[in-house]
């Protein structure tokens, strides 16, 4: 009956069903909040491309290339490779919101990473057009090149690297717009459509503070499920995050409830193998253990699998 390794062949199908189901069912919520449906479609698209970029889904050989193409939603006519660090705005795409002022025009920029293993990688980053003026971006990237950020992202998968770079740039830009925008407001006006740079400022504090745990906090503040608040990508940010936690929550370690996924995040870093499931039976007799699990999702050796039932045994 069961084909070999159904637990893997089913993965793309199951995942797609779940994605469709989620997207369909939250549609109303989006409309209720007055959020345009294209944002929902964008969510779906980002989700799918991120998923593809993990390469965890078996049997989808063409995914990687697709991921590379669609990892950033911003329309770029065609990515041109530029010399390292110096990047040039290509298709400017207004309307993409960000932590920057709503009217700020965002432009897409290619950053070519110095080749590490021989292959060059181009990260597409969105930046506000204001940052192109003066040496802001240049300085920023020059600083980043020597900093730990590049060291960290250079070995990461493309989308992760892009995402981290994006955050780094956003963070850096948001923490210093005072300089540019107050120094020569007239100039910034020139390049931007009808910008209100001042609107940047109210955001800043929050943004800066968020930088430290931006990647980690995925489901809003104080949400009851701090489930997997840490994703594998924030190499640099991790320390700060820990510090933040320490000061914000005291020494309150969330080790005693089902949200205690701190270890998961370590595991994740180690690309460890994890199975998430439900137990039906757990037997122990002396040092012998037997398990019956169901409804599991696994990531073993970097490949996802799903199972309806799994039974096993071991000794302690």
């Amino acid at each position: 009956m069961a084909e070999p390794s159904q637990c893997k062949t089913m993965v793309p199908i199951i995942y797609q069903q779940i994605i469709e189901d989620v997207i369909t069912k939250v549609k109303e919520e989006f409309l209720e909040e007055g959020i345009d449906e294209h944002v929902l479609q964008e969510l779906k698209q980002i989700w799918q491309s991120k998923l593809a970029a993990t390469n965890c889904v078996p049997n989808e050989p063409d995914k990687q290339s697709r991921a590379a193409n669609s990892s950033e939603q911003v329309a770029s006519s065609e990515p041109q490779q530029m010399e390292p660090t110096q990047s040039v705005a290509i298709a400017s795409t207004s309307g993409t919101a960000s932590g920057f002022a709503p009217d700020t025009k965002m432009v897409l920029v290619d950053i070519t990473l110095p080749s590490q293993n021989g292959d060059q990688r181009v990260l597409k980053i969105k930046i506000p057009s204001t940052a192109l003026q003066g040496n802001q971006l240049h300085n920023l990237l020059a600083g980043a090149l020597n900093g730990p950020v590049f060291q960290a992202i250079i070995s990461l998968p493309h989308t992760l690297a892009t995402s981290i770079m994006q955050q780094y740039i956003n963070g850096a830009l948001l923490s210093q717009p005072t300089a540019t925008s107050t120094k020569n407001p007239a100039q910034t006006d020139g390049a931007m459509s009808d910008s209100e740079i001042k609107t940047v400022f109210p955001n800043q504090k929050g943004q800066n503070k968020k930088i430290a745990n931006k990647l980690n906090q995925v489901d809003g503040h104080g949400d009851s499920s701090s489930d997997d608040s840490t994703e594998g990508s924030d190499v640099d940010v991790q320390d700060e995050e820990m510090e933040n936690k320490g000061s914000d929550e005291g020494s309150d370690e969330e080790s005693l409830n089902s949200d205690d996924d701190d270890e998961d995040f370590e595991d994740h870093f180690d690309t460890d193998n994890i199975v998430v499931c439900q137990f039906e039976k757990v037997y122990r007799h002396r040092n012998k253990w037997r398990f019956q699990f169901k409804d599991g999702i696994m990531n073993l050796n970097g490949v996802d699998g799903v199972f309806h039932k799994a039974s096993g045994h071991t000794e302690w």
Binding site: D227, K294, D295, N301, G312, W316
Partner: protein
């Protein structure tokens, strides 16, 4: 019973990253992101329960660590061999996180 533990999967992680991205660009609110995650919980619980048929067995050389807390088992197993029909996957180490499967479908049941 809808568990949130599946957020700690590839699918869950990538969804959370995606939401994070939209949040960062102020395209959605944290509340909406939260609702999406809750819907994800429902969808993935339901889909796993109804659509997945594969069965597998495993044996582990050693149970390294175990913990039972808040009705959640966590196991660290070493030298594990997963088997589905003839396909075998061997790994040095795996972490298994398991919520109580009996609660599903009989909410409020006193049966533990």
């Amino acid at each position: 019973m809808t568990y949130q533990l599946y957020r700690n999967t590839t699918l869950g992680h990538t969804l959370q990253e995606s939401l994070d991205e939209l949040l960062r660009y102020d395209q959605i609110t944290p509340q909406l992101a939260c609702k999406v995650l809750l819907q994800f919980d429902k969808s993935i619980n339901a889909t796993l329960a109804t659509k997945v048929k594969s069965r597998l067995t495993f044996k582990a050389g050693k149970l390294n660590t175990y913990r039972f807390c808040d009705n959640v088992w966590t196991f660290m197993l070493n030298d594990v061999e997963f088997r589905e029909v003839q396909e075998i996957t061997k790994i040095d180490k795996v972490k298994i996180v398991a919520c109580d499967g009996k609660n599903v479908g009989e909410e409020g049941s006193s049966k533990k």
